[in-house]
């Protein structure tokens, strides 16, 4: 066996991720060219495992929408949707997608096919409102998989209990209703062995994702949860339940294990280990990250990587011997985990403070997303009461430049780091 060198390993995930991302968009453009429809799905509970059985290409409109922000054209798209009648105060992803639809599928990364079917969970209620727009525009059949989440903090129903079984049965019944709809729309028969196959690939991705996140406990940490993490997250969503996705995550684990074993961190000298809560600021994505890295701050974890992976971070492994039952169970557990990372994020963050040895936590609530942002100020209070870790609270948006005040954010970030630095000095003196 040939010895693999650090050069071949380090940064492989980012490169492969970017290539796969481009390939995915190109594939969608081909479908659009042929006039074929796609399954429109969302990041929290995409049902990719099932939809691939029917060979639906997947469009994730949250991802196509955020591309307009990263590529710095979101303002034009938002303005088009607002001219159409949508309020400045609603989710920017919805508006960017509305503009993409009005443009016949054109967006900065190519062209996306029209929705032939839309599948969404209630992990975000806006998903449902959003899909209702396609229903009106194109007559697209919609299917909501209603996923009962945690009812009350600390009160998750556990497998084996009657309450859990009730929820699982509800999800399973819905999956069984979705199958004939997929057959009808795709014209293909359901094949349970193909489902077994996609579940197996999803298992590889889930276990890989969990391992990658755990490995970032290393010191120095191995990747930046906001920048690199978003690349991995893209693959976890776009290629969920596929062979390519499975290979990507196996490779990624290999890369991270190697980096951990050799003490190779990110490109910065890590002075502060940070947690990130919320959704990144895409309109100034690079600058936003630099506000932290230039002080030696690295994001070692983020609630985003948990909820926007649809709870893939749980590492749930499907039992391929009872595929549908297990799909229901895994779906329930993972999507519930996604929701807990938004609604009960305080618990997650308090846990990281210890397990990831955090020096600080950055909260970034955004105008567009009330799902994630509504409870952050209160969650931060709870985190501050339970730990003595400093935190920063900055509001902006993941799409709308009008509410992103870069200079102000930078000032706040600078003050935050000055506080972290003097805290460290004080600790040195008193020790």
């Amino acid at each position: 066996m040939t010895e693999i060198t650090a050069d071949e390993f380090v940064g492989r995930g980012n490169k492969e991720g970017a290539d796969l991302f481009r390939e995915w968009f190109d594939g969608l453009a081909e479908h659009a060219k042929r006039g074929e429809g796609a399954a429109y799905v969302f990041v929290m509970g995409s049902m990719a495992e099932l939809l691939h059985v029917f060979d639906f290409p997947l469009v994730l409109p949250e991802i196509t929408s955020l591309q307009t922000a990263v590529r710095r054209v979101a303002d034009k798209y938002l303005a088009e949707a607002e001219d159409y009648g949508y309020s400045p105060d609603i989710c920017g992803y919805v508006k960017a997608d509305m503009a993409v639809q009005l443009r016949g599928g054109d967006h900065p990364m190519g062209r996306i096919p029209k929705p032939a079917i839309a599948v969404m969970t209630n992990a975000c209620n806006t998903y449902i409102k959003w899909a209702e727009i396609w229903e009106r525009m194109y007559g697209t059949p919609l299917f909501v998989i209603d996923v009962p989440a945690t009812r009350q903090a600390g009160g998750q129903f556990q497998p084996g209990s009657a309450d859990f079984e009730r929820d699982r049965k509800y999800v399973e019944a819905q999956i069984r209703e979705l199958i004939p709809l997929c057959e009808k729309v795709s014209g293909k028969k359901f094949d349970i062995d193909r489902l077994r196959e996609t579940l197996k690939y999803a298992n590889d991705m889930n276990t890989g994702w969990k391992r990658v996140l755990e490995l970032n406990k290393s010191k120095p940490s191995l990747f930046n949860a906001v920048t690199d993490g978003t690349v991995y997250l893209g693959v976890s969503n776009n290629l969920r339940g596929t062979e390519k996705g499975s290979t990507f995550f196996k490779n990624l684990v290999e890369e991270m294990e190697y980096k951990a074993a050799h003490g190779i961190g990110t490109q910065i000298v890590e002075k502060y280990r940070l947690g990130f809560v919320g959704v990144p600021c895409y309109p100034i994505f690079r600058r936003f990250s630099e506000m932290f890295t230039e002080w030696g701050g690295n994001f070692v974890h983020s609630t985003y990587l948990n909820f926007a992976s649809g709870g893939g971070s749980m590492g749930y492994e499907y039992d391929v011997n009872r595929p549908i039952e297990s799909l229901a169970e895994g779906f329930l557990i993972s999507v519930r985990e996604a929701m807990d990372n938004m609604f009960h994020q305080d618990r997650v963050v308090i846990d990281w403070v210890k397990n990831y040895d955090l020096d600080g936590v950055v909260y970034h609530p955004i105008k567009s997303c009330r799902t994630v942002s509504t409870g952050l100020a209160d969650g931060r209070r709870a985190m501050m009461a339970a730990t003595d870790v400093p935190s920063l609270f900055i509001e902006s948006d993941m799409m709308d430049k009008r509410v992103v005040s870069e200079a102000q954010m930078k000032n706040r970030a600078d003050a935050f780091f000055e506080g972290l630095a003097s805290r460290r000095e004080m600790a040195k003196i008193s020790s």
């Binding site: 806006t126 009106r136 998989i145 009350q152 019944a173």
Partner: protein, 388 residues
């Protein structure tokens, strides 16, 4: 019956009843809740839109509709970020400022903001603060059974809080009370539709809104007293435009805004506090009562932007509401920052455009105090319609 929590409406003229209702509706100290607690009663606060109050009622609790109030969110502001509708903040403010004391809080997954409330509330209070999962897949064959299970679960939690077992008999009695309440509200709305000159939209709203703060037995008494007085009113038909008001399903517009609209229009139907009228028919009193309630929620119910049901495309439902009430125009509003409301506003206006039905678009906030410009625009809108 029951002790009166809100006795001042009794032996009053119709005008006096409206005045008392207004006073109670505007009193952010919730005196009826205080009175209930003074007598040792427990209170379940439930957030908008719909809650199966019968279950709490059957356990001897006072179900309180938490739908904000015209108060400053002094304490709650630090629990929330910006970019949120106001009702969340003022609802929490009521408890943080000790205006209202609860023994249990329930919210619903009606929207992205409201669902967060269970967690926010629960971090601040040790009593049960939870989500009741009303199905968002109303079209699944499994929804009714699932919802019934949710009702069963909430029933267990209520029993634990009150120490009272909810018997079938108690639940049946509560259903009788609530069926009657819904029937009376339907009657009130029937008058609005057929003879809107007998009761203004504002007056009908006052009568309805206090229902969320008192026991339904008392609300029934109030309605049974007021409705005949309304029917006997020697009011004359006026030359006013008949409108449907849409957008009041969750956060409520300020009373004065409803009053101002009522001055220039007949509000012949609306979705204000639609949860009180969500169930359209009597819930059957035989068989599995919780299942009957679940079935009624899904099968015999109204519509709103916060429920997805393939059988209820919102714009078609609105057109139906307009047709059924003989409205000539619609007022399409949304609470500021209300994602579902603002999204459906676009849908509604496109559908109305297509049908050539005139409409007026507005945004409101429960705390707004000045709507002069909205009033002027609305007057111009109605005058244009009258003289066109």
């Amino acid at each position: 019956m029951t002790n009166h929590l809100f006795g001042t409406w009794q032996n009053q003229s119709l005008e006096g009843i409206f005045a008392e209702c207004r006073e109670l509706a505007e009193n952010a100290d919730f005196p009826t809740v205080k009175r209930w607690r003074e007598n040792g009663g427990k209170v379940l606060g439930h957030f908008q839109v719909y809650f199966p109050e019968e279950i709490a009622h059957a356990a001897g609790m006072l179900p309180l509709k938490m739908r904000g109030a015209p108060v400053e969110p002094t304490h709650s502001d630090s629990r929330f970020g910006s970019y949120l509708c106001s009702i969340l903040k003022t609802s929490l403010e009521l408890v943080l400022s000790n205006r209202v004391e609860l023994d249990m809080f329930v919210t619903h997954p009606i929207c992205d903001a409201a669902r967060n409330l269970a967690a926010v509330w629960g971090r601040n209070y040790s009593y049960p603060c939870q989500i009741l999962y009303l199905p968002q897949n109303a079209n699944s064959k499994a929804s009714a059974e699932y919802l019934c299970g949710e009702y069963e679960r909430v029933k267990g939690d209520i029993e634990a809080v009150t120490g009272t077992k909810v018997t079938d008999e108690a639940l049946r009695n509560s259903l009788i009370v609530y069926n009657e309440n819904r029937r009376l509200l339907r009657q009130l709305y029937e008058i609005k539709r057929k003879q809107p000159w007998l009761v203004t939209g504002f007056e009908a709203y006052l009568l309805m809104t206090v229902g969320g703060m008192i026991l339904r037995e008392e609300h029934n008494e109030l309605l049974k007293t007021a409705i005949p007085l309304i029917e006997a009113r020697p009011a004359k038909r006026q030359d006013k435009i008949r409108v449907v008001f849409e957008g009041g399903f969750c956060e409520q517009p300020p009373l004065d805004l409803i009053r101002a609209i009522s001055q220039s229009c007949y509000i012949v139907d609306d979705d204000l506090l639609i949860g009180l009228r969500w169930i359209l028919e009597d819930v059957p009193l035989e068989g599995d009562l919780l299942m009957n309630m679940a079935d009624a929620y899904l099968e015999k119910s109204s519509y709103s932007p916060v429920q997805h049901d393939a059988r209820k495309p919102k714009e078609k439902m609105l057109l139906q509401r307009i047709a059924d009430s003989g409205a000539e125009a619609a007022i399409i509003t949304a609470a500021k920052m209300c994602e579902p409301g603002l999204e459906d506003q676009v849908t509604y206006t496109k559908a109305l455009d297509e049908k050539g039905i005139p409409y007026f678009v507005g945004e409101f906030e429960e705390n707004m105090t000045s709507f002069d410009s909205m009033e002027i625009q609305l007057e111009t809108f109605t005058e244009n319609l009258i003289f066109s």
